[in-house]
Amino acid sequence: MSAPSATEVMTVAAARSLRDGTSCLVGIGPPGAAANLAQRLHAPGLVLVYESGAIGAKPNRLPLSIGDGILAETADAVVTVPEMFNYWIGPGRIDVGFLGAAQIDRFANINTTIVGDDYQHPKVRLPGAGGAPEIAAACAEVTVILRQSPRAFVERLDFVTSVGHGDGPGSRERLGLAGGGPTRVITDLGILEPNPETRELTLVAVHEGVAVDEVREATGWALRVADEPRTEPAPSAAELETLRALAGG
């Protein structure tokens, strides 16, 4: 079997973080793959929820779109989009949310709107908010998945699309955000978690073969590192095999 790609390393680490018996709001790409992988390995009772309206979906292959037909066909319940946001996501009924990001800051606030400092004339127009602001506000836990680079891990976001831990301790409470906010950030280099007191992202694990200094260099601020960051084991043969079978490749 060929060596795991960066995306596969992130996907497997994300899958391992999901506990059996919880509900998980997944998108496409690595989050969807991670949830599907976890369901096949250690978390058969994981409930997959897609914001397109499929609750308890059990796809046997990875959909390219969150609205793929296989999701509604295998779901326990299919609901409309207003119901999904007003009855399910908003009240915090989903345990874990997965988000991607173009930019993230040290408090795990997220930008998926624009790159550049002029909203009217952005350097890059990104897709926008989608369901992310409410997922970030309401889910008990949020896992963010993105590749780590100084362009993505920035001192200051060009736009705050979704709130993580705001400007530090007490921010979420002041804003009235009921969910727990981002609990982990999984990158191709390692895993970051907010410090319980300062809420600042701290490197708690590096992937096998990655040096802590590499992670520092890929971060646009002075990165906090745990006293003894652990090593996240590389994907096992069983994990990779299952993941690749899901992807159909």
Binding site: G67, D68, P82, F85, R125, L126, V160
Partner: protein, 275 residues
């Protein structure tokens, strides 16, 4: 007196219902996207449209690139699973073929705007947007205080749609419409719009009961048009699958102005009668 949906051809329906400058939603949350109706708007050269949709995808990219749009009201604009919409980006980043005004929301905000218009209410209330930069950029996001608890919440206004266009699996001869699978905000869009068009895969004698089906009685719909395959390259559950390759192929077509112009000539305008 209530009048039942009249069944007409797609060309006639668009000509009758959609005017230049209208605010119009072609809805479909990844499923049942009314692509053929979008192409007919391009062929009839509608201009200055305010396009509304939660998830503008490639048919909105095509409408924008073809110069039909003045403004886009949306919450997520991308090619799902593939990447950017390059015609949308060209319009926003470089004003080509014309500048595009944006009014952007989150999905929860847009879904509630549709629900408010279906309910005939001036606005909807949600917990949302707090702490984000969106309220600074979007006029249609305002704080509102709950008269019972004093909690500060977010208000978003009802959408004011001239026309809603959706695609459904089928209708009967009386114009009653049935759709199932992921039905997004289509019911809200139709009930919230002044005029509506439903394109369908087929017109049948009898609508068999189907799990999770949304039924729009004939008197809630203005026009029905039979357009088999009208949601391609998206899918119609029970009829055809999503053409994932077409979504991937769009990336290269939409990326370049000339390639896009050729595609438009060949695939949409080719053989079209003069407007």
């Amino acid at each position: 007196m209530r009048t039942a949906a009249r069944t007409v051809g797609l060309q006639e329906a668009i000509a009758e219902l959609v005017r230049d400058g209208d605010t119009i939603a072609l809805e479909g949350f990844t499923h049942l996207i009314p692509v053929a109706a979008g192409h007919e708007l391009i062929r009839q050269r509608r201009r200055e449209l305010t396009l509304v949709r939660m998830t503008p995808d490639i048919v909105y990219d095509q409408l924008i690139g073809a110069g039909c749009a003045r403004k886009l009201v949306f919450s997520w604009g991308g090619n799902p699973g593939v990447g950017s919409l390059h015609r949308l980006r060209d319009a926003v980043e470089r004003g080509w073929p014309s500048p595009l005004e944006l009014e952007e929301h989150s999905h929860a905000g847009m879904a509630n705007r549709y629900a408010a218009s279906a309910a005939g209410l001036p606005f909807a209330v949600l917990r949302g947007y707090t702490g984000t930069d969106l309220p600074d950029r979007t006029e249609t996001i305002r704080p509102v205080t709950c008269p019972f608890t004093g909690e500060v919440l977010t208000a978003v206004p009802a959408l004011e749609l001239d026309v809603a266009i959706v695609h459904a699996q089928r209708a009967d001869r009386a114009g009653n419409v049935q759709m199932w699978g992921l039905t997004g905000v289509q019911k809200e869009a139709v009930l919230g719009a002044k005029r509506s068009l439903v394109t369908v895969e087929e017109i049948v004698d009898e609508l068999d009961p189907t799990p999770d089906a949304v039924v729009l009685p004939a008197w809630t719909v203005t026009r029905v048009a039979a357009v088999p395959g009208g949601a391609k390259p998206s899918y119609a559950q029970g009829y055809y699958e999503r053409d994932n390759d077409a979504y991937r192929a769009w990336d290269a077509i939409g990326r370049d102005r000339e390639t896009f112009a050729r595609w438009l000539d060949d695939e949409v305008l080719g053989g079209a009668p003069a407007p």
